[in-house]
Subunit: 135 residues, 2 copies
Amino acid sequence: MRIGQLAQLVGVETQTIRFYEQQGLLPPPDRQDNGYRVYTEKHGEGLAFIRRCRILGLSLAEIHELQSYQDDPHQPCTAVNALLDDHISHVRSQITALQALEKQLVSLRASCNDDREVEACGVLAGISEGKMHQQ
Amino acid sequence: MRIGQLAQLVGVETQTIRFYEQQGLLPPPDRQDNGYRVYTEKHGEGLAFIRRCRILGLSLAEIHELQSYQDDPHQPCTAVNALLDDHISHVRSQITALQALEKQLVSLRASCNDDREVEACGVLAGISEGKMHQQ
DNA sequence: TTTAAACTATAAAGCTACTATAAGGTCAAT
DNA sequence: ATTGACCTTATAGTAGCTTTATAGTTTAAA
């Protein structure tokens, strides 16, 4: 399988595949005589794994860590679960922060109707004066 | 006021101030004979405005836009409010996406207790097989 | 007075996870 | 022979800074 086919199969761009190879996330495939990369099914699975991790919001570093666990399958899997727990709490704190932010933005927005001049705009005034209703 | 004092006053690093100047968000201040930047209160207000916008999650481009409105104070402020409305809906969709993600992560995490080997880890298996409970 | 600490300056690279662009080689079909 | 689709590498751009390197200036202590 050449890079274009693999890319289409998994739904990424060819550059992304080369990028993952360069970052050490995907093993360097064999090459044809002309230098073209030749991929196996294994590569397909590896790439799909990376993409699923990315969809779950894991960083490339975290994916790398997971791969190192996969390479040593008789360890206890506590580290895997710890990584996921960390990621979950990270996502949760992001949600909390964004919810607080939304509140601030909505209250700021409520300080102006649209029928003013910029000079008297409640939103701009609110930001300028630091009346951002901080907790 | 020199750059270090301004930085301490507003709570940013000196490099950040130079960066904003370079990006056209902060007007270039006068210089002493030795080349040191000299800031006025106006700069302090400008910088504080930028930081408050950043805390609200606005991009530098959006801040630039707001500044252009400030420079033309007799326009109607509908554009200001539209910018904020856009940003609010952006934040809301981020929240929604993260909440869906959290659900996925939690259900994935529930597929493994810690008392296994990596080989049998429910989390890794879940990612590998694509059983990510997608909606 | 010398010297060291603390401050300032510029320029350039590093960070994340790609995406895009440039300049070129390969291959199948026309 | 040439077009078009594919492949190669290398390099730059994205956001918003942070870090590093290198060097000049001021200030306070020894």
